[in-house]
């Protein structure tokens, strides 16, 4: 089925612009889809012959081919190695994504997660045979409760947004248990998009709270929106402008005074871990992105893990399953009937065990003393960037930031260069861009998070590059230069509009050959 010349012909349209016949540029290699390679009858695994024992498929045997290509092991290894080389990664360089926390991913975490006692155990084995795995979950739960100052934790959410769903379900269950009906959830305009989406998914109307000129929740606007129909307020703290909500205790007291709950988006917990306990601020529910604060790798988009800590008021609504420790060791409460008030089950099985092992490994490597230093260094690094770039770029707000520094695009005004162009120029200089155009409340936002695992040297070099690009943009007449970026990547700017207009979401043999004929 393979035809290399056909696969490579997808580059033909661009051939006159290409310096080589193949489209390869030295070590930067073009790589066709796996479906454009291989031969029928070839395979990358050796499996024994199938014994002749008859079939009990009840007449439902699959007929006809599936259409999967046949490749050997070395072909497959080479294919995915080549694909990997087209990716930027934290292992390759600084990854200053605000709100996403791209920090060092220790390989010890990976080694521990692959210990057979964690990776090769089944969630439905007898409880007596999984005591080590349950001990790990219980130990991690203890760390999370202690670090946040909260009495209970739900371990099963599979990601941060899944944790939000869990927390909001617990809040709704608590409200319904009181026989109340509340309809509104207050969400700041600057919130992560997952917050309003979660509140809406839980059946609530989302009521936005404006930000004040200091980048925080406008407390008077917040106060004006309070009422007996408000179920909760969802606030990220430190917020998405990289700022601590200085009136957070008052906000918590206000929402409690009308019988509502305080959901805290814990995406930025790494800024305060070991220095502030959310429980002391009046939080009722907060998810913790283990992949952000506790360094489990992002994996190109996942998997994540989002345990949710709960206050006394919500503790009894914790969903199944949860681990309990008795005199005979650990056991699991996993049936809904056994958990009296729990709101149900959010996910099959016990949660993201593989992520739990990585997170606990990281916590133990840092300890209580090191985690406190994590927050201090993350905040120091971000403020250093803010201070060093305040003259070349335009900080969105005055005063110190937490773990991320936010700029607006005022410094690009009149240059013809947009935030996007600026970001693409960073790629040519060897950097992954910062978070762009978020939070929405700041025009052309550039949100930079260095994290605590970057050295001063790495940050100084990064600052020099950003300052240089800002100077270049402000020279004038540089818009075309910026708009042509990136130039040295496997692909130049990609047409996202065309992709959305006529979606091609999978390979199809007929379309590919039609393309080649065009």
């Amino acid at each position: 089925m393979s035809d290399w010349s056909k696969a490579l012909s997808s580059f033909e349209g661009a051939a006159e612009n290409m310096p080589t016949m193949t489209g390869n540029l030295g070590l930067q290699l073009e790589e066709p889809l796996i479906f454009e390679q291989g031969e029928d009858g070839r395979t990358g695994v050796d499996l024994p012959p199938v014994p002749k024992v008859g079939s009990k498929l009840g007449g439902l045997a699959r007929k006809g081919k599936i259409g999967l290509p046949g490749l050997s092991e070395p072909q497959v290894v080479r294919h995915y190695t080549r694909l990997s080389q087209k990716n930027y990664a934290i292992d390759a360089g600084l990854y200053p994504l605000g709100s996403c926390t791209m920090k060092h991913n220790p390989r010890l975490n990976e080694k521990m997660a692959r210990l057979a006692g964690f990776s090769d155990v089944h969630p439905l084995q007898p409880v007596s045979t999984v005591q080590g795995a349950l001990e790990l979950i219980d130990t991690l739960a203890h760390w999370l409760k202690t670090l946040t100052g909260m009495p209970a934790v739900a371990m099963s959410p599979a990601a941060g947004a899944h944790g939000e769903l869990c927390g909001m379900m617990a809040i709704r269950a608590a409200i319904e248990a009181k026989g109340e009906r509340r309809t509104r959830v207050l969400v700041p305009e600057s919130a992560h998009g997952t917050n309003p989406a979660t509140a809406a998914a839980c059946g609530y109307t989302v009521d936005p709270i404006p930000a004040n000129e200091r980048g925080r929740v406008d407390i008077e606007a917040f106060r004006a929106k309070l009422g007996p129909d408000v179920a909760a307020v969802m606030i990220t703290n430190p917020n998405t402008c990289g700022l601590f909500e200085s009136e957070i205790i008052e906000i918590a007291e206000l929402i409690h005074s009308v019988g509502g709950y305080f959901y805290c988006d814990g995406a930025n917990f790494n800024a305060i871990v070991g220095r502030v306990r959310p429980g002391d601020l009046g939080v009722d529910a907060m998810h913790i992105n283990l992949h952000k604060t506790f360094s489990t790798p992002h994996g190109g988009g996942g998997p994540g893990a989002g345990p949710v800590v709960l206050s006394e008021a919500l503790a009894k609504f914790v969903p199944v399953p949860y681990v309990v420790h008795g005199k005979d060791g650990y056991s699991v409460v996993e049936s809904e009937g056994a958990a009296e008030d729990g709101f149900g089950r959010l996910k099959a099985f016990h949660g993201q065990m593989g992520m739990f092992v990585r997170a606990l490994t990281y916590m133990m490597s840092h300890g209580a003393d090191g985690l406190r230093q994590v927050a201090s260094d993350a905040v120091l690094n971000a403020n250093y960037i803010l201070a060093c770039l305040k003259d070349e770029m335009s900080p969105a707000f005055d005063g110190p930031c937490m773990h991320e520094a936010l700029f607006d695009d005022d410094f690009l005004k009149g240059t013809g260069v947009t935030t996007l162009d600026f970001a693409k120029a960073m790629i040519d200089e060897g950097y992954h861009p910062m978070t762009m155009y978020f939070p929405l409340v700041v025009h052309g936002a550039l949100l930079i998070e260095p994290t605590e695992t970057e050295s001063k040297e790495a940050i100084d070099q990064f600052i020099a590059v950003l300052a240089g690009l800002a100077k270049k943009a402000k020279q004038g007449d540089q818009a075309d230069w910026f708009k042509a970026a990136p130039r040295f990547t496997p692909r130049r700017r990609l047409d996202e509009t065309a992709a959305a207009r006529k979606p091609m979401l999978r390979w199809k043999p007929e379309e590919q050959s039609k393309d080649a004929a065009d």
Partner: protein
């Protein structure tokens, strides 16, 4: 603190550049009443690599691992052999330590494998399109129901009684707190075709979808073609869940039966048991529902020089654009687990995938035949893939404990998940089970049941 590069001299220099006397002054927006003046009590201080390794290895050693004993536990998570190159490749830092591919020019590797993943999932499920993965099979099932409610503008889901009880619980939790109704059909451990008739009787003009599983929780295989027709006649969607994706190498695909949405657990291909997660949810549907689909999608396009490339696409369905109007709140996928799936599937290819499925089925047929000859065991399932249900002459939970004491992990007592079915045991067998494993189970059962 080997992960923290700043020296005391660095910190002093940086504070001077900022113009503040101490790090504490950078925390001045935090109400002082909430400041912790010293490291949190009740947790140990930092440890070296060797100490952490020792502590966690000691913990890990306290569990009985699947690879160390005859192992027959399934129920939505399966022990298979994963080729060594899979884990090696996913641990390449360029895959493992990268982020969601928002900057397509420097994430073509991730985007291309997601496109390949979507293609593989569409092909094996027999559907038009698939997304770039969900958290796991159970949450994908709940998202599918929410999508069906949105597509049909109806709010009653009909769930098969033979759907995995935990999948059922996840959907029911969503129903309770997201304002839709979920009704469940009869639980029928022996044979599911009658179950399909029962479900057909429950479909009416308020039904948004019917959710079935194939093979079902008890291992039964069913042709859902008639059910699909009944759904279509009433304007409801048919959602088929597959918890053992290897089955699709041998069994007619849900797409061929007329499914509207297929959700599946992809753990079996490329991923370890991991005590329940992380796994990889598969989600596939018909072309006409693409814009209603939750989750991430990679799509083909061209770059400024006219060359083929990939981007994340149709993001206007997503929470970062539509906020409270989004198709779901999901903003992540199981990227690395999807990569493991894709690499393993690429290694298998057409021949390997088909052969792997045949080996699994043959092993199950062999074991079922062997156990049928054991006194006190009745094999209930007539047609199955690699998992089947037996009725025992003693309570299954006790039998499983007794066999665990003999270092045999015999299967799942149904009573652990569905109260009241004390004598039923669900047994899974895959290509990793040897003849000796099967002999040990048969011998163990005959000893415990005698």
């Amino acid at each position: 603190m080997r992960y923290l590069p700043l020296t005391e001299a660095d910190r002093r220099a940086m504070l001077a550049a900022i113009g503040v006397p101490s790090v504490d002054s950078l925390f001045r927006d935090v109400p002082e009443s909430a400041w912790l003046k010293k490291p949190i009590d009740g947790l140990p201080d930092h440890m070296g690599e060797l100490e952490v390794d020792r502590a966690l290895s000691a913990m890990a050693a306290k569990s009985m691992t699947a690879g160390s004993v005859p192992f027959f536990v399934g129920g939505g998570a399966y022990k298979h052999h994963v080729p060594s190159s899979v884990d090696h490749l996913i641990q390449r830092g360029e895959f493992m330590t990268s982020y969601t591919p928002y900057q397509p020019e420097i994430t073509q590797g991730t985007l291309q494998y997601l496109f390949e993943f979507q293609t593989q999932v569409a092909l094996i499920t027999g559907m038009d399109v698939a997304n770039a993965s969900m958290y796991d099979g159970s949450t994908a099932a709940a998202e599918a129901v929410v999508m069906a409610n949105r597509v049909t503008r109806r709010n009653k889901a009909v769930l098969s009684g033979n759907l995995h009880p935990m999948y059922r619980a996840v959907i029911e939790t969503h129903a309770k707190l997201l304002d839709f109704e979920a009704v469940t059909g009869r639980i029928e451990p022996k044979g599911a075709s009658g179950g399909a008739d029962d479900l057909i009787g429950k479909i009416d003009e308020t039904t948004s979808c019917v959710v079935v599983q194939n093979p079902d929780f008890f291992g039964n295989l069913t042709d859902f073609t008639k059910l699909a027709e009944a759904c279509q006649a009433k304007g409801a969607l048919l959602i088929v869940a597959v918890t053992e994706i290897v089955s699709l190498g041998a069994v007619k695909s849900p797409g061929e039966m007329g499914a509207d949405i297929v959700v599946a657990e992809g753990q079996s291909i490329g991923n370890a048991l991991n005590f329940g997660g992380p796994y990889v949810g598969l989600f596939a549907t018909k072309e006409k529902y693409v814009r209603q689909m939750p989750g991430r999608l990679a799509g083909q396009t061209v770059d400024a020089a006219g060359r083929r490339g990939w981007v994340l696409t149709l993001s206007t369905r997503e929470q970062h654009i539509r906020r409270e109007k989004a198709t779901s709140n999901i903003c992540t996928n199981s990227g690395l687990c999807a990569l493991a799936f894709t690499i393993h599937m690429s290694l298998l290819g057409e021949d390997g995938f088909t052969r792997l499925a045949e080996l699994n089925h043959a092993a199950a047929v062999t074991l079922a035949g062997k156990l049928a000859g054991v006194k006190g065991v009745e094999v209930l399932t007539d047609s199955f893939f690699n998992e089947f249900t037996v009725r025992l002459s003693k309570p299954a939970a006790e039998v499983v404990e007794a066999l665990a004491a003999k270092n045999i992990l015999a299967g799942i007592p149904v009573s652990r998940l569905i109260p009241g079915h004390d004598d039923l045991l669900v047994i899974a067998v895959t290509e990793v089970n040897t003849q000796a494993d099967m002999d040990a189970l048969a011998k163990g059962l005959s000893e415990v049941l005698s």
